[in-house]
Assembly symmetry: C2
Homo-oligomer: 667 residues x 2
Amino acid sequence: MSDIADVAKRLLLGRPVRSDRLGSTLLPKRIALPVFASDALSSVAYAPDEILLTLAVAGLAATTISPWVGLGVVVVLLVVVASYRQNVHAYPSGGGDYEVATTNLGPKAGLGVASALLVDYVLTVAVSISSASQYASSAIPALRGHESTAAVVAVVLLTVINLRGVRESGTFFAIPTYCFMALIGLMVVVGSVRYFAGTLPQAESAQFELVPAAAFDQGLTGIAGAFLLARAFASGCAALTGVEAISNGVPAFKKPKSRNAATTLALLGGISATMVLSILLLAQATGVHYAEDPHTQLTLNGQPLPEGYNQHPTIGQLAEAVFQGFPVAFYAVSAITGLILVLAANTAFNGFPVLGSILAKDGFLPRQLHTRGDRLAFSNGIITLAVAAIVLIVAFDAEVTRLIQLYIVGVFVSFTLSQLGMIKHWTRELRTEPDPASRVRMKRSRVINAVGFGCTSVVLVIVLITKFTHGAWITLCAMGVLFVLMRGIHMHYDRVRDELALDDVASARALPSRVHAIVLVSKVHKPTMRALAYARASRPSQLEAVTVGVDQDDVADLTRQWEALDLPVPLRVLDSPFREISRPILKYVRSVRRESPRDLVVVYIPEYVVGHWWEQLLHNQSALRLKGRLLFTPGVVVASVPWQLASSEGQTGLEGESYVDGRLRRF
Amino acid sequence: MSDIADVAKRLLLGRPVRSDRLGSTLLPKRIALPVFASDALSSVAYAPDEILLTLAVAGLAATTISPWVGLGVVVVLLVVVASYRQNVHAYPSGGGDYEVATTNLGPKAGLGVASALLVDYVLTVAVSISSASQYASSAIPALRGHESTAAVVAVVLLTVINLRGVRESGTFFAIPTYCFMALIGLMVVVGSVRYFAGTLPQAESAQFELVPAAAFDQGLTGIAGAFLLARAFASGCAALTGVEAISNGVPAFKKPKSRNAATTLALLGGISATMVLSILLLAQATGVHYAEDPHTQLTLNGQPLPEGYNQHPTIGQLAEAVFQGFPVAFYAVSAITGLILVLAANTAFNGFPVLGSILAKDGFLPRQLHTRGDRLAFSNGIITLAVAAIVLIVAFDAEVTRLIQLYIVGVFVSFTLSQLGMIKHWTRELRTEPDPASRVRMKRSRVINAVGFGCTSVVLVIVLITKFTHGAWITLCAMGVLFVLMRGIHMHYDRVRDELALDDVASARALPSRVHAIVLVSKVHKPTMRALAYARASRPSQLEAVTVGVDQDDVADLTRQWEALDLPVPLRVLDSPFREISRPILKYVRSVRRESPRDLVVVYIPEYVVGHWWEQLLHNQSALRLKGRLLFTPGVVVASVPWQLASSEGQTGLEGESYVDGRLRRF
């Protein structure tokens, strides 16, 4: 059984990888770009849609402003890319924003950034996968109404792929990312050519009319108009997420790590900005109408839309229009966009476990998150991320427009704190740097980071104001909870460390004067004899066998057999008025300790090692209970003497799993 | 926290009871009657209803036959009571049918009886509680539609009461049982007087007409008619369940146990028979019409019944009619009947854990079912029963008529096998008994048991034929599964016992030649030093400290600190190419074992003892994993050296719960 599980695990996850092969999993730029850039690139699949549908509330005239909103987003994007190129050079260790904030602004700011990023990684997965399943159901009508199930399945698949390790992820993800870039590029080029040739067809939705909401019958005017514009901009800023992923992923790059990461970042910024703008311009040229609820916001000749109308995402509508006459183009673009969104979620699968592991190393998260699985991947972090994302997807029914309200708050918190930290960083560096050329470079960097800080903090405020009641409060709460939780864990580890610190070396050398060994006996059989033999082999100062008398006849039997064996070890029978096993033994051990407090008491417990989980239910229950309780008594050592039952044979403890202590254990 | 849990447990379950007070929980007859008889008595709450509604399918004329069907049931009841009075005398140990069948027909027959009884105990709870919630919803219209929820709540309450122990159950249950007898008795007397005085009013449902099913428009004729009659009789035999409960409960009686149990059995038979017959006769006198689905089977002046018609159970309708003018009587009878049904379920709560414990002692069920909880009750069995009954109630939506199809199969299997066993018992006894007076008594007993066997086997065949497709197959399947499961458990325990048997006393005395002690070190802190001191105190032949090198810097740090301490113990660093902790240690331990196979290897693992479950998540994870895997290697002892963290202070291991090995442990 364990063999099958092992084979299945190997098939799914591949062979284990040695530590010294870690170097060979480093990524060249051509692989790093698709791995780390898919997040930012893929957001063109939903960011333009969100700009359009937010503006659509104010009617047709308002949507004509969308390329300008897009331009605003692109400006912020380029500023942020420029800023992060400074980060990547200054902090190449992969701590990213967390490290920058911790080093320059103190541990609390660092922890704030970490909370924000953890939450946002989860949202990256939830939003990307939900958007992907929206694309899938737009192309495959049979999926409509099952978006949420499809999204959960996709997250599970991604989890398995990532448990295989980062290297295979790289090659696996490169091809579709390049296909996506090529296909969108082709669409933009063909669309532009046909536009200037005057032969660009109209989009399917161009025939509809937009019905503005009552508050906006005058168009985008007044405070409400400004607010809506700001909200469209804030939603569009989803295009910026993923930029920070590279700064957390620098150690995964080939050398020179920082330079390669910075170049990749610049490439990514350029491609991403071009795509967002092109798509918004093409959408305007083809007359795309896009609404959150097409059946109430859109009309056809003054009438509601036909029942079965399936509103395709903007990119889908563009592909239909630009490649009119080639219906396969729509399916190709939808498929590759859906796929790229799944890969975008993969960025989070790369970033989250690394950050989690760093936080675990710093004592902010349970230490097991720092342990590597046997595929060089941080398995625990990957699984945590997947579970959290699935919860969000199910809770929000995989609706992108609702999830996007929670999104990017965290990213901009960390952008802003990180840039503030970088300003302090350069200021501090400048204090000690004598070389004039370096000083000029540093001052330039500081200016870039200052602009970045100004820019991102303004966006953060806009995001908070326009999205707070729409869902951003959930994100803030989650961040707050994580912050408090991680501080609590840190304080706990600190307290324990202080408690355990070796304050007095002399006392560390003090030895207990004598050893009082107790062998627990329930029956006279091989496991008991083994425990007894082992106890005798360790030559304690005092040795006795102890049994608990629950049933008179059993005790009489046992005593008779014991005497027949004629062993040099006395058998003591403890009374058990309440028919319990643990309590009388505990009380006896405590009385031994009281009589000679400087002695060490070693309790030998015979234990069965079984091969199947269900056997565990049939054995060891009293032994387990007792073991746990004995440990509460100072000066007591609990020695488990295993007896390997035949069913455990062949299991060496070296395989992938074992059943011990009633729980399934895996490597 | 553990204090609060302890106090709460004491409030709910009372103080623990000493073994030597077990005698004081024995029951006098006046308490034993209500405790063990409530099952059989309470079945008058549904058995007459089932007879009436089964016959109702064939129209009005058919229902006039119901007292004759009732008479048939009563005859069988009296035969069975007479038979069981023999059992109680011959087997007073409480093994009941299981013991009789095992002793006389062999272990397989015994196990068959046990499976049948276990299933039937579960059904007793499910049927009784479902019927009780039907009575409750008949009196309290607000409960209608929530019968299933009410039933589950009732089972949970019963579970808590029974976890308190059998003695309190006795006094607690006596009063309502006697009230029930008094109230039903009063109703029968008043009803009879009014009937003979000619002033007995008609029941509410007397005004309706019964619409026979198409197959029965000629009344109860042909094979279909005979089959329906047989089915009505089979359902009525539900009145017999509970008789065997006394034979399983003999040890709970005051001395002379057998005589008292036999007397109680006779009393119970008489009362039960009188009630069933009286109710069926009164129902006929008052013209009760009772149908499974009143809205299709009953009409009023040829029209369907009014929408809100609430069909009261027969006893409720009788109370309304007999005590016309005192509406409170209906509520009193409904309330006390509902209550007595809840108490009937309690019979199973008395019987099931006793049987489970006997089976566990014989190695057919996991041994923990044999352990007593701290209230002298067999807590594990009680909880198992409750869970199984809740599953049935939820699955059948608490509908008595559907559940009753599954019922009594098990009881009659065990009746039949038990009576067959008794015939063999007397035949064997007669072979060695010289005293003529005794021989006469034995022969008389054998005749009684033979009549019982004939009677119950005929009923069993009728039950199987008439109910198989209606649900009895489910019961048979469950019995089969239990049978196979228990045989499997028994074979497993047998195999393990053989494996562990001490075949060679000399080898049991052989001692390992030398002890090689290994102290696991992750950091230099107090727990490590304690483990080291304890290891040194046991003066092993060889002692070394071992650490796993995952991170170069950490190892260098550790080595430096170790050298600074200047201990007489060398520190060995194991390479970990896969960044694992367990595997390198396992491999090293195995290599030590290979080099000197006759040595004993003792691995000392420092372990934190924490006070809160969440702390367990933050510590010990690698230690736990390692411990489990080390046990698979023969010749290795795992010694846990606990370090009690401050948070564990005040917890002595003696309280009600502790958090160790990551699991909540309770006494």
